[in-house]
């Protein structure tokens, strides 16, 4: 039992890594399908083991459900540390608890489904092997992130998923847009990394350790101000990774990556790492009200902001990207107000339905040879029934229509917002729900319904099995996933209880008023979408003219990109190229070459005295003699002797 608890986490971790290494080293020498098989099997294995591990852990007594796997163990004769510069010691340390396990289950579970999907989706790519290697690398890094037992390993995973995301966004390296999107994503993520680093530095300063156990155990001893700062800096990391305001601009661009990547990394798992981080660091936020409030406000603002932008976009994946941003805003909002279980719950359902949406969209894109503009789609419901029905399920789920998954988790968040006393945040959240229903149905209508097919490319035949099966599974999960939490039955909170040590309010209670308003909002959204897009509508064009300034604002995502471009990018690059072109050669280098040049000049002047004329030489000697004589007389008799006074 104990043996399993210590070996399973390592096995889980190492499976995807070994997959990567195998594909990288052996892959080129064998048939390409081997890479796909290895990639899939390693993730499937990890999932099975994770499930077994979860089963094991959840059958332990509640007070033993937080398992710390630490190397070196206390009894080791030759302890091995990641870093060992006393007083700083950083161990190889993992923490397996319900929070980590839920994330691990989603990462490996959904991850496996998306791997499976990729077998079909990526079939035409010439970087087939590389793709699986990168995807496996991502899963490894993501698992590392959530399994870490101290902040260092969290940061390693954090950076690692950033790398994997970078690699996969820029997977099609021949396209400049993909390359630029990858660069943007990594730079923003590194800003987040720096935020976490600063938080770590502060934790080390206050707690003398990076271990969760030490830090969280001593939180109550630290002062609120310090904890607020730590919380804010952690938030910077979360914001960058989860594409929250104001570091959100990379996520829409990240849709340059292949669709399975968008599904796995930029919807289901990686972008929710911010939620995980804040939930993980809950003891800090519990004692840092200001930081926690900031988290909530940023989450709420992002949710609303992204939803508004989503209403006008035409790129199918961009709409999904903004919806992801918005949904993660919900989760951040939830964990910000202390509704950790609700946040986690929404993460799970979101992973199901958002992955589903991306995969359904992926089928469409795949069958349309990469077309992503919904204006060139329409009427696809008949041509791609599987995609349509699964997409519909996902849309219903995200819109919060019961009994689909999203309804339950969203409802839990709304409920707890009011329970925790945040009516303003709640109001915005409900408004967001309305917008969400609107833009998702707008997307659905534009893509699959609303008249005939508008595109020029002839759609392919139906999707391959490897794409259909995982999509269908996720569709089922998007329906039933929410049933984890039903009135009087809160599986999530029950599991998370030991992690949060009783800080969790029960979910699942149906507050009729709250639920009613949420459902009503969703229905209104759907209705508006139907009115504007469900049929050929004149109102649409009219509205477009009336609201054109607003529309321009939204189409450009509030001009964030433009502002950042002129505020940061242009000045920084201008300064940099000026430094490289002028300051360095003419300034710093110019000084030294100036000194060298001046020395040579002095030498030339001196040599010009050496005229070759004998009498000049004699004159020099006589002058020298007079000077030496004068110097001597000055030394003996002082200045008066040589008339210097």
């Amino acid at each position: 039992m104990q043996g399993f608890l210590t070996t399973a986490p390592f096995t889980i971790l190492s499976l995807p890594l070994l997959g990567t290494i195998f594909i990288a080293l052996v892959g080129p020498r064998v048939h390409r399908s081997v890479s796909a098989v290895i990639g899939n099997l390693s993730i499937l294995g990890a999932f099975v083991l994770t499930a077994m591990l979860a089963w094991t852990v959840w059958h332990l007594p509640p007070d033993a459900q937080v398992v710390t796997v630490k190397y070196p163990p206390a009894w080791a004769a030759h302890p091995v540390f990641w870093a060992h510069i006393p007083p700083l010691t950083i161990s190889f340390e993992m923490r397996i608890d319900a929070l980590a396990l839920l994330w691990m289950l989603i990462i490996t579970g959904v991850g496996f489904l998306i791997h499976l999907y990729s077998v079909g989706y990526m079939a035409d790519s010439h970087g087939y092997r590389t793709f699986f290697a990168y995807m496996n690398l991502f899963v490894f890094m993501m698992l590392l992130l959530v399994m870490a037992g101290n902040f260092l390993w969290l940061l390693v995973g954090w950076g690692g998923v950033g790398l994997a995301s970078y690699l996969l966004i820029g997977f099609d390296a021949q396209r400049t847009a993909a390359v630029l999107a990858a660069r943007k994503a990594l730079i923003m993520n590194v800003i987040g990394d720096v935020g976490i680093m600063v938080a770590i530095f502060l934790m080390y300063a206050h707690f003398g350790s990076l271990s969760y156990k030490e830090v969280f155990g001593n939180v109550s001893a630290a002062n609120t101000n310090a904890l607020d700062w730590i919380g804010i800096w952690l938030l910077l990391g979360a914001v960058a990774k989860s594409a929250q305001l104001p570091l959100q601009t990379w996520l829409p661009d990240a849709m340059e990556g292949p669709t399975p990547v968008s599904a796995l990394i930029h919807a289901a798992t990686m972008v929710t790492a911010g939620v995980y981080l804040i939930a993980r660091a809950h003891p800090i936020y519990d004692h840092a009200p200001f930081a926690a409030m900031t988290v909530a406000v940023i989450g709420c603002a992002t949710a609303f902001f992204a939803a508004t932008v989503g209403t006008v976009q035409y790129d199918i994946k961009r709409v999904l990207a903004y919806s992801t941003m918005s949904q993660i805003g919900y989760m951040i909002l939830a964990v910000g107000v202390g509704a950790y279980a609700a946040g986690t719950f929404h993460f799970i359902t979101h992973a199901f339905f958002k992955a589903l949406l991306f995969m359904a969209a992926g089928i469409v894109i795949h069958n349309l040879d990469g077309e992503q503009d919904v204006r060139k789609m329409g009427g696809l419901a008949k041509r791609m029934p599987l995609a349509f029905w699964t997409f519909l399920i996902g849309t219903l789920a995200i819109s919060g229509i019961p009994p689909f998954a999203g309804f339950f988790s969203k409802d839990a968040i709304f409920d707890q917002l009011l329970t925790h006393g945040h009516p303003v945040l709640w109001a915005f959240a409900v408004a967001t729900a309305l917008l969400t229903a609107y833009y998702m149905f707008r997307l659905l209508f534009l893509t699959f319904l609303s008249g005939d097919y508008r595109g020029t490319r002839e759609p392919h035949a139906a999707s391959s099995t490897s794409m259909a099966v995982p999509t269908s599974i996720l569709a089922v999960l998007s329906v039933i996933g929410g049933w984890l939490v039903l009135p009087g039955h809160d599986a999530i909170s029950a599991k998370l209880e030991p992690v949060f040590a009783g800080a969790l309010p029960e979910m699942g209670g149906i507050n009729a008023m709250v639920t009613g308003i949420a459902i009503a909002a969703a229905l209104v959204g759907i209705a508006v979408a139907w009115a504007l897009y469900g049929r050929a509508s004149q109102a649409r064009t009219k509205l477009r003219t009336v609201l054109s300034p607003l529309r321009a604002l939204l189409l450009n995502a509030y001009y964030f990109d433009t502002i950042y471009h002129w505020l940061f990018e242009v000045p920084a690059l201008t300064v940099a190229s000026d430094v490289a072109r002028y300051v360095e050669p003419d300034g710093v280098g110019g000084f030294t070459s100036g000194v060298a040049g001046a020395t040579t000049k002095i030498g030339d002047v001196m040599r010009s005295w050496e005229t070759g004329y004998l009498r000049r030489y004699g004159l020099t000697m006589v002058i020298g003699m007079v000077l030496v004589l004068a110097f001597y007389l000055y030394l003996v008799h002082g200045a008066a002797a040589v008339g210097m006074k």
């Binding site: 010009s608 050496e610 004998l614 004699g618 006589v622």
Partner: protein, 104 residues
Amino acid sequence: MAAPQIPLGDYLTVASALFVIGAIGFLLRRNPITMLMAIELMWNAGNLVFAAFARQFVDMTGQVFVFVVITVAAAEAAIALAIVVMVFRRKRDADVDDISVMRG
């Protein structure tokens, strides 16, 4: 009864004057022979000082030095003249300013 002594200071003044005249002569003249003569003047200024002090101290050393200098001056003049003649042969000219191939 010895003749009235010329004061030492007068010797030194004359010697200094000779020395300076020699130096100036060296700088102003362009004929190497004349320059050599100017140098002889300077050497003899030294000799005069030696002789004057030797007399002042009633000491032979100074006079010995004078003899040595005179001897060396002879040798030096011989060598210098030989070199000047050698240069003359090539240049057919007696201007040191023309002898300035090397410079810088």
